[in-house]
């Protein structure tokens, strides 16, 4: 971890228009939860559906994409990354620091709003709020690493990331039984399911598979990103 790299990255992420992208979805989630609570009162079934489809199913991968690629891809694209790379700092340290920033942003803008929204709808009932918060936390960490890697390996990180988030995580991982085992969204739901006793919610990926899978994907993506950053080439105008 490098404090200067983290400081610059936080300023880049929070001091510009990108913060609105981070804020928009959580505000929508909390707004929907407040509205449903006002209309129907506390409802565990509604809470589970909202958390599963919107919080973990839509918001988490999209925020993962914004935070994970946003901490590094724009700097590689416009060349500002040279300021960090032309210093006596190991490149894997830079990758890990960028990951930590992305993961912390997902805690604040994904996991915390998930808790607030679920708590608004169900309180502490059946552990739904705690379960989905932990699911978003674990899933957010894995997404941060995967999208950071995308930001390092391809100049089209956002395009590739959108396709991954919407097609693989949203469609294939959600509806194709065999592919569910290879979906971060499903792993996050598995964590949520483990810590919740709600009868309205069950997953077919076990925690024993989901947690090691998330650890392997996170560590593997970070190692790969560090290695790619070590050999990152910058070409001139000629």
């Amino acid at each position: 971890m490098n404090a200067v790299v983290a400081d610059i990255t936080y300023r880049a992420m929070l001091g510009r228009k990108r913060i609105w992208l981070l804020v928009l979805l959580p505000v929508a989630l909390i707004g929907m939860a407040a509205l449903l609570r006002a209309v129907d009162g506390p409802d565990e079934h509604t809470a589970v559906i909202l958390m599963k489809t919107f919080a973990v199913g839509t918001m988490l991968p999209l925020l993962g994409l914004i935070a994970g690629t946003g901490v590094i891809a724009p700097e590689i694209e416009d060349g500002t990354i040279i300021h960090l790379l032309a210093k006596p700092i190991s490149r894997p340290v830079i990758a890990v620091t960028k990951f930590a920033v992305a993961a912390s942003l997902l805690v604040v803008f994904a996991a915390l709003p998930t808790f607030i929204a679920a708590y608004l709808l169900t309180g502490a009932e059946s552990g739904v709020a705690y379960g989905f918060t932990l699911g978003a936390l674990f899933g957010g960490v894995a997404y941060a690493a995967v999208f950071l890697l995308l930001g390092v390996v391809t100049r089209h990180a956002v395009t590739v990331g959108v396709i991954y988030a919407l097609v693989w995580e949203g469609v294939v991982g959600g509806y194709v039984p065999g592919a569910r085992k290879l979906s971060i969204q499903q792993w996050a739901q598995s964590v949520a399911d483990h810590f919740s006793t709600s009868p309205f919610f069950s997953t077919d990926v076990t925690l024993g598979f989901a947690v090691p899978a998330m650890a392997i994907v996170t560590v593997g993506a970070l190692l790969w990103a560090g290695r790619r950053l070590r050999v990152l080439s910058l070409t001139g105008d000629d």
Binding site: I8, R16, I82, H83, A86, K87, L234, T235, G236, D237
Partner: protein, 321 residues
């Protein structure tokens, strides 16, 4: 290929390229370049697209040679972040965080180098490039020249032994340019190894003691700037002249030894001269003596590409390397 070294070379801050080539697919950007950059100021000169930035990026550790070796003090440059303790880099791109102030940008560089007194180092570097007054403004409000100077300050903050600058004078006004040139010269005299790229000969000759010329990816010439300048000036030049009586003027010019060929064309006279200085003195004198008015005199081959091409294709090519 012969290597050229500065006579004051020490083992501190010496970049060596050994038969370095770099290609992208089928395109060869740098072709079999061997050179040594030692203490003092070296100008890397060449037209746009000659491969200067590619070569500089290989020296800075941001590009791997396809073949050959690039070392700093004998240590490989590629995949070696420790070299940045000795190297400062000023890239050509406006690669600066616009949301930071100049002070924050240079201070961050000092802290990334883990300097013992980062604030003092940042102030000193900003002062060197005369950016102290504007240090608290966001970089996105700076002019191009100010951005360039703040990049230089960030590169100098750790007082590097080696400074690599890619087209550093671009975008600077004349006063800023003179100031940076003085700074670069002073650092060179102090024993720093400084390499800067440029496509402008005048820029290079005002600052650099040593010139390396790159043309179409090849190391075309190397040596003292006076030698390179002489070879560029003494090459055959082609001029187009329009006058009140082209035929009489042509007859007068061909009789002088400075003109190797004179042709009458629909656009006027085309004169090829082998002695540039003699011809430029002769032409107005001859015109006056025969009573011909000169309307237009224009060089037809003065673009940099032709000047540089002459260095590798001309009869005296290779004289200094």
């Amino acid at each position: 290929m012969t290597m050229t070294t500065s006579p004051t070379t020490t083992r501190q801050g010496v970049i060596e390229l050994g038969q370095v080539s770099r290609w992208y697919g089928n395109v060869v950007a740098v072709n079999d370049v061997t050179m040594t950059i030692g203490p003092g100021v070296t100008g890397l000169l060449g037209p746009n697209g000659a491969g200067k930035s590619t070569l500089l990026h290989m020296m800075a550790g941001f590009l791997a040679p396809s073949t050959g070796t690039a070392t700093l003090n004998g240590q490989p440059i590629w995949r070696n972040h420790e070299i940045y303790r000795l190297v400062g880099l000023v890239p050509e791109k406006e690669a600066v965080y616009g949301f930071l102030t100049g002070w924050q940008f240079v201070l961050s560089a000092a802290r990334l180098h883990r300097l013992p007194s980062p604030a003092d180092a940042a102030l000193r570097a900003l002062d060197l490039v005369e950016m102290t007054a504007a240090k608290d403004r966001r970089i996105e409000t700076y002019s191009k020249g100010m951005r360039q100077r703040v990049k230089v300050a960030a590169a100098l903050v750790h007082d590097p032994m080696v400074l690599l600058l890619d087209e550093p004078f671009n975008g600077m006004d004349p006063r800023q340019r003179m100031h940076l040139m003085d700074l670069v010269r002073d650092m060179g005299r102090a024993g720093r190894t400084i390499l800067f790229s440029s496509h402008i000969l005048e820029e290079v000759e005002r600052v650099a003691e040593q010139i390396e010329v790159l043309v179409a990816g090849r190391h075309a010439a190397s040596g003292d700037y006076r030698e390179i300048r002489r070879r560029m000036t003494d090459r055959p030049h082609l001029f187009r002249v329009r006058s009140s009586d082209d035929r009489r003027l042509a007859a007068a010019l061909i009789s002088d030894s400075s003109s190797s060929a004179v042709a009458l064309t629909a656009q006027g006279i085309e004169v090829q001269t082998v002695d540039f200085r003699r011809f430029t003195r002769l032409l107005p004198k001859v015109a006056r003596d025969i009573g011909v008015h000169l309307w237009q005199l224009s060089p037809t081959d003065e673009d940099l590409e032709s000047v540089f091409s002459y260095l590798i294709s001309g009869p005296t090519s290779g004289g200094s390397r």
